[in-house]
């Protein structure tokens, strides 16, 4: 129905889901559990301030600075906090390094635990039942579907995230990138390469 044929003495209510969220927010605000401004601040942070570029900076620094890389592998939460990327849920972050012998990939089989401070919010496929169930059963087949072929002699390690422990894959530095600045290196680091469903590439 064209909009202008509507009566103008009312407003069409939003979706049922929207009304449920509004009811929750109203109820919890009135009881003093949340302040609307705090909710808006969280939305702003996740839409504008956190995302995979944070993780890419961490990876580029690890590629460029061996001391930082060691700190990252020893205690990723502390190393990322050095760059200002700290968790809000009190969770620990562990960095797992891709090497000549090992390829790492990350999943959350329970729900969708994800290293928000360094990667932002997960892509929709990360939350899908197919990815959550198949990654542990047939990781190589899943990787093939992402266009990532892992040599059969290389070990594929699948890390199952939890509420307390999240993982960040440290991808291998692409060949032919000697002398690039950290900023230039960060541009080579895709989100998927830090989940392990992609690789960093020089282009």
């Amino acid at each position: 129905m064209p909009h202008d044929s509507h009566d103008h003495d009312h407003t069409d209510p939003p979706s049922d889901l929207t009304l449920r969220v509004k009811a929750l927010e109203t109820a919890l605000t009135r009881k003093g559990y949340v302040a609307p401004e705090a909710i808006d601040a969280v939305i702003d942070t996740f839409e504008n301030k956190v995302g995979p570029r944070n993780g890419a900076k961490v990876v580029a620094k690890a590629w460029s600075d061996p001391d930082f890389k060691q700190r990252l592998l020893d205690d990723a939460s502390a190393a990322c906090a050095e760059l200002g990327f700290a968790g809000q849920q009190g969770e620990q972050l562990k960095a797992v390094e891709n090497t000549e012998d090992v390829h790492n990939m990350v999943v959350c089989t329970l729900c969708s635990c994800y290293p928000w401070p360094v990667l932002g919010l997960p892509p929709s496929w990360y939350k899908s039942h197919a990815y959550r169930s198949r990654s542990v059963i047939e990781p190589r087949a899943v990787l093939e579907e992402f266009g990532v072929s892992i040599h059969e002699e290389k070990e594929v390690r699948v890390w199952d995230s939890t509420a307390e422990l999240r993982y960040l894959v440290l991808p291998a530095r692409p060949d032919g990138t000697d002398g690039l600045s950290e900023d230039a290196l960060a541009d080579l680091v895709s989100r998927d390469s830090m989940i392990g469903t992609g690789v960093a590439s020089a282009g």
């Binding site: 009312h10 449920r20 729900c111 899908s128």
Partner: protein, 119 residues
């Protein structure tokens, strides 16, 4: 599930990284509400992950979160369940507020701000 399963997640694989993180505003609201409630000590992140995991597992038996699109609907259900379980609000209060919001939309001329329901 096999690699040839037509419901393979690659059917909806975003190959670009530019996808919006929230498809609709209510998803952002539900997400931010959860993060804020946790920060304010209403529940632990463990309790949240367990509740969300249970909602997702329950749904899988019915229709499946195969494509991830109903993920935030499950998220919202989990949040309602957890805050009522914690006694922060009640299912009856939520239902009443939802109806009140809807009535206020219907009673407000188009283009004007919707008043919050009376407490």
């Amino acid at each position: 599930m096999s690699a040839s399963d037509p419901q393979s997640f690659t059917d909806f694989l975003p190959k670009t990284e530019g996808e919006p993180i929230f498809a609709e505003p209510w998803q952002a609201q539900a997400f931010a509400l959860t993060v804020t409630l946790h920060k304010n000590g209403v529940f632990s992140w463990d309790e949240w992950a367990e509740t969300l995991g249970a909602e997702i597992a329950k749904d899988k038996d019915a229709n499946g979160v195969a494509d991830g699109t109903n993920y935030y609907a499950l998220w919202l259900g989990a949040l309602e369940r957890l805050v009522t379980h914690k006694g922060a609000t009640s299912a009856a209060d939520l239902a009443a507020l939802k109806d009140a919001w809807k009535e206020n939309y219907l009673a407000t001329p188009h283009g004007q701000p919707i008043p919050e329901p009376r407490s």
